[in-house]
């Protein structure tokens, strides 16, 4: 008799999803699926809106990474306007995007995943959360909260709001940086360095305890994609896309936003509202690939900043070629936080950052435009078509979580096959299967939330619908 295990909802994620694990009559895992259970509809309800409203509308997709949506959307609008934005505006946007990356990575690592990493996958779920981390490792808790605050405060200083800032507009940003704000951010930098150094040291101390998880947490060969600079250093805001295979060979390079649809296709599956992106040259599902911190660090040759470059060298020693285990997303996230702090400091010490020319003005000069940027969890692609009046007639968004969708499903199956034995599961097994998804830090729908307490129920159901076993958290 076959059985189904359902984890619904998956906890400590941005948004709401569920996992089902199908067992065969021998109690072995046959299939596993990660379901995104919400429909959003942004592509449809933006139709008819003026193109210049798009950045603000698209930012509402997500409460964690609105800045990346702002930037990808503004770049698509700038393609419609046929303009290049002032250099200072580009640097200010870069700083804003890095600040967002820092706060989002801090949320993912410290709030969502450090309870598993520092307290243990099998620790009591009643205390396996940030409060538990604070009680057991207060210095790590303080560092995590302070790093998130650091990123959020920069966003608030520049964009006037921590969430959904409206500062980024088609053509640049709405106003230049004031010297007092620059000085305030620079004054916060030393503490941020101390906090990320502490976090990296703490992570390296405990990483070896997770050899089994490293082995089976979405640990397989795949392709990778991310933005990269011409000098092969990491890039979040401009640049072009590079795709590498599982051995590290470059299979596509220099992909600008308008060429993205030539290389990337989107498939749908009946069990999820999130699309499944794939490389057209390899087809679906063979052309699946990963994006986000692991992909970025696998692709780049350097971070372009001294401290992060040392960490990157160490990271690349984890494997002979691309680092394949998705458990290492956690490590990559910390290295990117360090890079973000260094880069923000570098940007702010350039006198041109206070330049007053931060916005270019134009109307509709093309009827189609596309833009791309790196969100904390991976590449974002926005593609719009407009009529002569600049009203949106068609929009398509390819988001990071859709690009990692195949890998997450494959990873859940790999972990379930390893941990679920004879049709039995424990709370610790349940948590590990969820933790595979957490490693990717997917953003399912940050702007929708359940009201009140979120229950977690894992149910074993027989083929005829009978509940065989249930664990309720």
């Amino acid at each position: 008799m076959s059985q189904t295990i359902t984890i619904d909802p998956v906890t400590r994620l941005e948004g709401h999803g569920k996992i089902t694990i199908q067992l065969n009559s021998q109690g072995e895992v046959e299939h596993a699926h990660f379901h995104v259970t919400q429909v959003r509809g942004f592509e449809k309800f933006s139709e008819g809106r003026p193109f210049y409203e798009m950045p603000s509308l698209m930012a509402r997709i997500c409460g964690i990474c609105p800045v990346s949506h702002l930037i990808a959307s503004a770049r698509a609008c700038e393609a419609i306007m046929s303009i290049r934005i002032p250099r200072t505006a580009a640097q200010l946007r870069r700083m804003l995007n890095l600040a967002q990356m820092i706060q989002s990575h801090a949320l993912s690592f410290f709030y969502l995943s450090s309870p598993d990493l520092l307290l243990g996958m099998e620790s009591d779920p009643k205390t396996r959360h940030i409060f538990g981390v604070v009680a057991a490792k207060p210095e790590v808790g303080r560092a995590g909260i302070a790093l998130r605050r650091f990123g959020q405060h920069i966003i608030e200083l520049l964009g006037k709001k921590r969430i959904h800032p409206g500062w980024v507009v088609p053509g640049g940003v709405t106003e230049p940086l004031e010297p007092a704000k620059r000085d305030e951010i620079l004054a916060m930098i030393p503490e941020a360095y101390a906090n990320i150094a502490l976090a990296l040291a703490a992570y390296k101390q405990i990483a070896d305890r997770f050899r089994a998880e490293i082995e089976v947490f979405a640990n397989f060969q795949s392709n990778y994609m991310s933005l990269i600079n011409e000098d092969e250093s990491i890039e979040f805001t401009v640049g072009a896309l590079r795709i590498i295979d599982s051995s590290g060979n470059v299979i596509e390079d220099g992909i600008l936003a308008d060429k993205f649809p030539d290389f990337i296709g989107e498939a749908v599956e009946p069990y999820s509202y999130t699309k499944f992106a794939y490389l057209k040259s390899l087809g679906y599902p063979e052309g699946s690939y990963r994006v986000g911190p692991l992909a970025r660090l696998n692709i780049v040759k350097s971070m372009g900043t001294p401290l992060a470059d040392k960490e990157l060298d160490e990271f690349k020693e984890l494997a002979n070629g691309p680092v394949q285990s998705s458990f290492h997303y956690h490590h990559a996230r910390l290295i990117e936080i360090l890079y973000g702090i260094e880069k923000i400091e570098e940007i702010l010490t350039d006198p041109l950052i206070l330049d007053k020319h931060v916005r270019a003005i134009a109307g509709v000069n093309r009827l189609e435009g596309a833009g791309q940027a790196e969100a904390p969890r991976g590449t974002l692609h926005h593609h719009y078509k407009v009529d002569e009046n600049g009203l949106i007639t068609w929009a398509n968004l390819v988001i990071a979580t859709g690009q990692n969708n195949n890998a997450m499903n494959k990873g859940v199956l790999q972990a379930a096959r390893y941990y679920v034995k004879d049709g039995k599961f424990t709370e610790g097994v349940l948590n590990r299967v969820e933790a595979v998804i957490r490693a990717f830090d997917p953003c399912l729908s940050c702007s929708s939330h359940a009201f009140g307490q979120m229950p977690l129920v894992l149910t074993l159901v027989s083929k005829n619908g009978e509940v065989v076993d249930q664990v309720i958290r």
Partner: protein
């Protein structure tokens, strides 16, 4: 943690697009205008209370949380003392309650305010909208009086402690 302590921190919470849920931010704005020049008073208004506020709490002698309540009768006002309390269930990463924030402040920074209170206003509606329900509109004058009284009391209590 090098900044001097403020005498009274006002921490409001609510969504201004969800009718009466916006009463917390509205009262925070009122307090900002009423006490904005007083360096002893700091006002923070957020859509949600998040863990980073623990540091602000640690830097305050007293804290007054302001929120709407869906459990109280519409328009009813309450001021209650708040004690630190760690969450018994899994933590919501986006939002904490006042007792959890106090506990977090204590765990992280080994300090907590001398006094912590919560002012709640019973919500009549939390549907989409930018206006308050009749009961909440009627309660606003008394809510402002109670808010002012609570703030002034906390400042006076601080003087007695010196």
């Amino acid at each position: 943690m090098t900044e001097p302590k403020v005498r009274c921190l006002i921490l409001a919470c609510g969504n201004t697009l969800r009718s009466d849920d916006g009463i917390g931010p509205w009262l925070a704005q009122w307090a900002q205008e009423r006490f904005g020049d007083d360096p002893n008073i700091r006002v923070i208004s957020r859509q949600q209370w998040t863990p980073d506020l623990a540091e602000d709490i640690a830097q305050a002698e007293s804290v007054l949380f302001i929120d709407c309540s869906i459990e109280s009768a519409p328009g009813s006002l309450r001021v209650i003392d708040v004690e630190p309390s760690a969450p018994m269930q899994g933590l919501a990463t986006h939002h904490q309650g006042a007792p959890e924030l106090l506990a977090l402040s204590c765990d992280l920074y080994n300090t907590q305010p001398r006094k912590a209170s919560l002012l709640t206003i019973g919500a009549g509606s939390t549907e989409l909208g930018e206006t308050f329900s009749e009961p909440v509109l009627d309660a606003i004058p008394e809510a402002c009086r109670l808010l002012e009284e609570t703030i002034l009391n906390s400042l006076r209590d601080g003087d007695h402690c010196k």
